[in-house]
């Protein structure tokens, strides 16, 4: 398992596409000057822009890595040489996932460090009205990374059955969009006005989706970071437990499907 993780990490770091995506991180350098254009709340804007840029980069990486690693191994016929080694398909799949998840965390660490420097720089030039809660910013980046690791797991699950990378990519994008709003939809459906407006069938279908799709809203702590709102630690713990249970289920299903897959 460890050598699969190691090999996966080497593959990512040596990949041109990844290197290209990471080059987008130079946009960080423009954040202070872009933020300063607004004249007020410069630091808050710097935080917003930094966290958004991190989200975008992690999202692209999650889609790219989650959808293409297994597909590429099959497409380039690496699976014949690797899956004929005495390792189970589950070890292979989970090893790949851990490799990518580790990489996402490392990237988040790197981008987080850069963004903290950028925010610090902005806050020195334009002191903010409220003190910055650095720990909240760090926690918010960490949870952002967890959110995109779930997207990696979704894309990999779809890749275990798909012969192209379209299903994993578009499936993961849809899951991400749906997973972001699922909480709001659920809450709306529970409300008084919805009880009258929406039929039972639709409401039950929506509920079913609510339980199947990942609920990503708990991972979004940007507002807390930007406006220095204190975090609710029991809520965070619950979110972490949710993360482990949900990715665990995705990987378990992915393993079952991949064990059955034929290498033609």
């Amino acid at each position: 398992m460890f050598s699969i993780i190691q090999t996966t990490l080497k593959g990512v770091f040596r990949d041109r596409v990844f290197q290209g995506i990471m080059a987008l991180a130079v946009f960080f350098l423009f954040i202070p000057s872009a933020a300063s254009l607004s004249m007020r709340q410069v630091t808050e804007l710097s935080i917003t822009l930094s966290l958004s840029l991190i989200s975008i980069l992690l999202f692209i990486l999650a889609l790219f890595l989650g959808a293409t690693t297994i597909w590429k191994d099959i497409e380039r016929r690496y699976t014949f040489s690797v899956l004929s080694l005495p390792l189970s398909r589950t070890t292979y799949l989970v090893g790949k996932f851990f490799g990518i998840a580790l990489f996402m965390l490392l990237t988040a660490l790197f981008l987080g460090t850069v963004s903290i420097l950028v925010i610090k720089f902005s806050s020195v030039l334009y002191p903010p009205s409220r003190p910055i809660l650095w720990s909240t910013i760090i926690v918010s980046i960490f949870f952002d990374a967890l959110k995109y690791i779930i997207i990696v797991a979704v894309a990999m699950l779809l890749a275990t059955v798909s012969t192209s990378f379209f299903l994993p990519i578009f499936g993961a994008i849809s899951t991400f969009l749906a997973g972001t709003i699922t909480q709001q939809v659920y809450e709306y459906l529970q409300s008084q006005s919805a009880q009258k407006a929406v039929s039972d069938v639709v409401r039950n279908a929506a509920k079913l989706f609510y339980y199947i799709l990942p609920n990503l809203s708990g991972f979004d702590l940007k507002v807390h970071a930007i406006y220095s709102i204190p975090l609710n630690s029991s809520g965070l713990l619950l979110t972490i437990i949710y993360f482990f249970v949900y990715t665990g289920i995705l990987l378990a299903i992915g393993s079952i499907l991949f064990e059955r897959r034929e290498m033609k």
């Binding site: 080497k10 593959g11 990949d15 016929r77 690496y78 014949f80 040489s81 034929e262």
Partner: protein, 301 residues
């Protein structure tokens, strides 16, 4: 214990437009420990399908297979195997050395032994100078040699090689034959597929011929070669005037002093009897036999 046991193994693919393709039909085959077995068949005969089934890459439609007594559906069955896929491909961002090390680690090799063995196989397969370069820049022949190196590194008991000579130049082919003979001398079992009869004739103990998913013949290479003797070409010292038919057999060709006769096995004694009686000198006797290639072609047709 047999190295490989295959019982009633079948594989049906569903091709385009839901057409069923019987790639392998009820194969029964045992490879004994220490045996070199050549799996001979034309393109599309089902050789790679058989091998992928044995390596657990495909699931059989029916039947089963075991390697060293372990069912191939279990990953542990592959601990005893070195496998070379057909037209192999390896993580091209790794160097040969990194890849061989990765493979050895998967076989849970001890790290000092692995280092030593990696060096051995890289030198043996003439990859030593290229070992640090990413495999992205390797030629097809080099990749094929990496494939052999990664099959050899953990020194398993059983080798399953899918067209090991393909993509290699004559030097590479000779090297592969050498390696197989070496494995044979060390009591290892080798199961390899090929569509080239010459490869089989030089190294195999036994050969199986597969055509359209069915095993049509299995025999020892020597007995095929022996049973293939059809007759003799006999050169007699006789001028054109003297070159009469002997035992009813006419000369094929005549030169000034030598006449050539083709004598089937059955007529050999009668022919030689008459030659001796007339006191004619025999210059040369050539054996005419069907080689493995003819044997193979006669089965495929």
């Amino acid at each position: 214990m047999n190295a490989i046991e295959i019982t009633g193994l079948s594989k049906q693919f569903t091709g385009k437009h839901m057409i069923k393709i019987d790639a392998l039909k009820g194969l029964n085959l045992n490879i004994a420990a220490g045996e070199i077995f050549g799996f001979l068949g034309p393109n599309g005969a089902g050789k790679s399908t058989t091998i992928k089934l044995v390596m657990g890459l495909l699931r059989p439609t029916s039947g089963a297979a075991q390697i060293m007594g372990l069912d191939v559906s279990r990953p542990e069955s592959r601990y005893n195997v070195g496998y070379l896929p057909e037209n192999p491909a390896f993580y091209d961002y790794l160097s040969a050395e990194e890849y061989i090390t990765f493979v050895g680690t998967q076989f849970k090799m001890d790290s000092t032994l692995l280092e030593q063995r990696t060096e051995d196989v890289l030198i043996r397969l003439d990859l030593w100078d290229a070992r640090k370069r990413p495999m992205r820049g390797y030629s097809k022949g080099m990749i094929q040699r990496v494939g052999l190196a990664q099959a050899l590194v953990h020194d398993p008991e059983v080798y399953i090689l899918d067209e090991p000579m393909s993509g290699l130049d004559p030097i590479g082919r000779a090297l592969v034959k050498d390696i197989i003979l070496d494995l044979k001398a060390r009591g290892k079992s080798v199961f390899f597929s090929t569509h080239i009869t010459d490869d089989v004739e030089k190294v195999c103990d036994r050969v199986g011929v597969i055509v359209k998913g069915t095993l049509v013949a299995v025999d020892r290479v020597e007995s095929i070669l022996r049973s293939g003797v059809e007759g003799y070409v006999i050169h007699l010292q006789a001028t054109e005037a003297e070159s009469l038919p002997f035992a009813g057999i006419e000369a094929l060709r005549r030169t000034e002093s030598v006449s050539e006769y083709y004598v089937p096995c059955s007529g050999f004694n009668a022919f030689m009897g008459e030659v001796n009686r007339t006191g004619t000198n025999v210059v040369l006797v050539e054996m005419k036999r069907r080689d493995l290639e003819d044997f193979f072609l006669s089965l495929v047709k």
